[in-house]
């Protein structure tokens, strides 16, 4: 018995020995042509949320780098394919969105405490610009930016804040926030026109950021269907698909026929619930968020509230390449093309008039005639107005 164990030990040592000796034979890699490396750290939602994180990844990987992540490696895509992936409004932009030849470095975070080391890792890997996707990375971006004054950072969805919540500025950090309430207003107005009974809103974490979606959406419903009730509910997370599905099923059972979600991966469950109700013959619709989520349930999606995280990431990468990445605090709304709604592919009676109405509302918001509420206090004032 003793000999048997000794043999196993020796075998294990031999295996370990082999593994160690291999790298010594490895040839040094040929030097690659110098490219700007752009890092991106996702929040815990990660790749594959078909929403917020995927939008940021699209801006970096497909648009800025001209590559697609398939299976476990990057595959180059043609300029033509990149152009075809652009929605109409983005395709019209000048200068055009086309690959910049940057090298993407992407790390997905698995826990809150990993944000800071992940950002630092990408800086250490040579990223000239590192993107922190989501307000939850605010502390981490601030700490890493202070420690690495020679590197640039882009923070999505939050300004930099000190411990007391006052905004601070760093010379190497650009921040981008969106007027989600404006895009949500338009999809809310459309929901009001389409719904025959009630509409629903499913949020993720109950935080001011998500309250902006809710306030804008409710105001939008009010603008086209003042009598329609809006149910709203929060899952408390961004990565619990089951919770989203459960809440959506509850709403559908209560007679809601259009549901808008702003709940990250939880929203996949919302869409799943709507899709199932749809295939059992109910006339219900879902409204996606952040990215165009039509492909998740082509029959059941009315539209999606688009938040151009992809464009914000792409523009930062382009500014980096062109050497003009300034540390500004950017706010993107309807006017700037930072939010909007996806192509409405669903067919319903009165579609042409409905879309004309939505476009008119868009013009009025851009012109400043409608002040879209962004929190519950403003929403009350908005609803009280005639």
């Amino acid at each position: 018995m003793k000999h048997y164990r000794l043999n196993i030990l020796l075998a294990a040592l031999a295996v370990a020995g082999c593994k160690k000796s291999e790298p010594a034979q490895e040839q040094p890699r040929p030097a690659e042509p110098k490219k700007h490396a752009v890092g991106l750290v996702t929040d815990v939602g990660g790749r594959g949320d078909h929403s917020f994180n995927d939008s940021a990844l699209r801006g970096l990987e497909l648009w800025a780098a001209g590559v697609a992540f398939e299976g476990s490696a990057y595959k180059p895509v043609t300029r033509e394919e990149v152009r075809r992936s652009l929605a109409e409004d983005v395709a019209r932009l000048e200068p055009p969105v086309e690959p910049l030849g940057v090298r993407p470095l992407v790390v997905q975070s698995k826990a809150q405490e990993d944000y800071e080391p992940n950002l630092q890792l990408l800086v250490d890997q040579g990223a000239a610009l590192t993107v922190g996707v989501g307000f939850m990375l605010e502390n981490a971006v601030e700490a890493v930016a202070r420690r690495n004054p020679g590197s640039k950072f882009l923070l999505i969805d939050s300004p930099l804040l000190d411990a007391k919540g006052n905004p601070v500025k760093l010379p190497n950090v650009r921040t981008v926030v969106f007027r989600e309430e404006e895009g949500s207003f338009l999809v809310g107005a459309l929901a009001g026109l389409v719904s025959k009974k009630q509409v629903g809103f499913v949020g993720g974490m109950e935080i001011p950021l998500i309250k902006k979606f809710e306030a804008g959406f409710k105001a939008g419903v009010k603008s086209t269907a003042p009598k329609t009730a809006v149910l709203s509910s929060y899952t408390g997370t961004f990565d619990n698909v089951a919770a989203g599905k459960q809440i959506a099923q509850d709403m559908l059972a209560k007679g809601v026929d259009v549901i808008f979600h702003a709940a990250g991966s939880d929203g996949l469950g919302v869409i799943q619930a709507v899709k199932e109700a749809r295939s059992s013959g109910k006339e219900v619709y879902g409204i996606g968020v952040d990215s165009d989520q039509h492909h998740l349930a082509p029959e059941a999606m009315l539209t999606s509230m688009i938040k151009r995280v992809d464009l914000a990431v792409y523009q930062a990468a382009r500014d980096l390449v062109e050497g003009k990445l300034a540390a500004t605090d950017v706010v993107l709304g309807l006017k700037e093309g930072g939010v909007g709604y996806a192509l409405v592919r669903a067919e319903f009676p009165g579609k042409a008039e409905a879309l004309a109405k939505i476009e008119e509302l868009r013009r009025r918001i851009v012109a400043g005639e409608i002040d879209v509420p962004s929190n519950s206090a403003e929403l009350e004032a908005f609803q009280a107005a005639p």
């Binding site: 164990r5 196993i8 030990l9 294990a12 295996v15 370990a16 593994k19 291999e22 790298p23 490895e26 815990v44 990660g46 992540f69 299976g71 476990s72 490696a73 990057y74 470095l105 992407v106 790390v107 997905q108 698995k110 826990a111 809150q112 405490e113 990993d114 800071e116 080391p117 992940n118 630092q120 890792l121 250490d124 890997q125 307000f135 939850m136 605010e138 420690r147 969805d157 939050s158 804040l161 411990a163 007391k164 919540g165 974490m205 109950e206 935080i207 001011p208 950021l209 408390g236 997370t237 929190n375």
Partner: protein, 372 residues
């Protein structure tokens, strides 16, 4: 002594090696390239142990210190939750509730850290003690349910995990203890703790290596001495091995079980304190990573021996901190956990194997007896 060490550790070492090899093969097959798998593994090793090649190229000490910090941070958490599970095992209990006890400890540390004004050194110690008390009390609940009402601790601790999540993450953190600054801002979690309550960083600002790691190492050594060198520790082990015999020889079985569960909960609670005081400096919106459940794997792979648990936690802390870098080679983010899970499977498989072997050995003489 040496032979005992080898015999005890060998199944775990082999299981970890087998898990590493299997995942290596899996990555190589998925990427259709052994080179990718090798690069990814090397990145993981240097990411966990310190980037020695780049250091030798003259990259500065930060490329060593940062990986150490991340590995030690993860190892400290895994060691404490692993010890928590192990000490309950020693008393014959399967504590699946380390996650819930850790959450209770974390919120206690975040509360004490933010609300009290105390001098440095005293403040973190008090927060850690508070977390240990909170976790310990939460650990006593399943012990009381078991001894008074006969509820099996596996059932009660699983359910208490969910109660902890609901109580802390779905109520306290978004309700009464929500960050005061959050008015119109998107800040998640509780107030940040005072600077005095933060665990000091051992290598300055370059690395997140903090004093909590020393707490975890000290806990492992003290627990080892307590179990192997004191009367109480001996009695606890006796209760775990044979409760009836322990009772017959005058050991207060109930007392030892209460004690072990309180200790188990306290250790898990301290893990929560380390997370809050060491790196997060507040209770985040959720404790995303399941360190409490990882503790079960760490305890089993460490053979429930405090020093074995510490060694296992160091290994997996380094693997998981370094494993993030595998993503840069297109490897899926779950591989570090997969290695840990497979190692657990092989350790458990080995136990089954040993058991079958022992059974067949016992049977054979019995079958042969009539013939002789």
């Amino acid at each position: 002594m040496r032979e005992r060490l080898i015999r005890g550790a060998l199944p775990s070492v082999l299981s970890v090696a087998a898990a590493l090899l299997l995942c290596f093969a899996a990555i190589a097959v998925v990427a259709a390239s052994a080179k990718v798998a090798l690069d990814a593994y090397l990145a993981m090793v240097w990411g966990g142990l310190g980037d020695l090649p780049r250091f030798l190229d003259g990259a500065g000490v930060a490329v060593l210190a940062r990986p150490w910090g991340e590995a030690a941070t993860k190892a400290g958490l895994l060691a404490l939750t692993g010890l928590s599970v192990a000490v309950a095992f020693k008393a014959g209990l399967f504590n699946i509730g380390a996650q819930g006890q850790m959450i209770l400890g974390a919120i206690a540390a975040a509360f004490l850290g933010a609300q009290l004004e105390l001098p440095a050194l005293v403040h973190p110690l008090l927060c850690i003690s508070g977390a240990a008390v909170a976790g310990g009390l939460y650990g006593l609940l399943p012990a009381a349910l078991k001894l008074r009402r006969g509820v099996h601790e596996v059932i009660s601790t699983i359910m208490l995990n969910w109660i902890a999540v609901s109580l802390v993450e779905n109520w306290l953190v978004v309700g009464p203890l929500r960050a005061r600054a959050s008015g119109d801002l998107s800040i998640s979690g509780t107030d940040e703790i005072a600077a005095t309550a933060q665990l000091p960083r051992l290598l300055g600002e370059t690395s997140r290596l903090h004093a909590g790691f020393l707490v975890a190492v000290a806990a492992a050594v003290l627990l080892h001495l307590w179990l192997s060198r004191t009367r109480l520790g001996f009695e606890t082990r006796a209760v775990g091995l044979a409760p009836e015999a322990a009772r017959a020889s005058g050991i207060p079985v109930h007392g030892r079980i209460y004690q072990a569960m309180a200790l188990s909960g306290a250790l898990a609670g301290m893990a929560g304190a380390l997370l809050v005081l060491g790196t997060e400096h507040k209770f985040p919106a959720t404790i995303g990573a399941p360190y409490g459940f990882d503790g079960i794997a760490i305890a089993l792979i460490g053979q429930n021996h405090p020093l074995g648990v510490l060694a296992t936690a160091l290994l997996f802390g380094a693997l998981r901190a370094g494993g993030t870098r595998m993503q840069l080679f297109g490897v899926h983010k779950s591989f570090p956990e997969l290695i840990q899970g497979l190692a657990l499977l092989f350790v458990a498989g080995r136990m089954v194997w040993d058991h079958l072997l022992a059974l067949s050995k016992r049977k054979r003489p019995a079958e042969e007896a009539p013939r002789a």
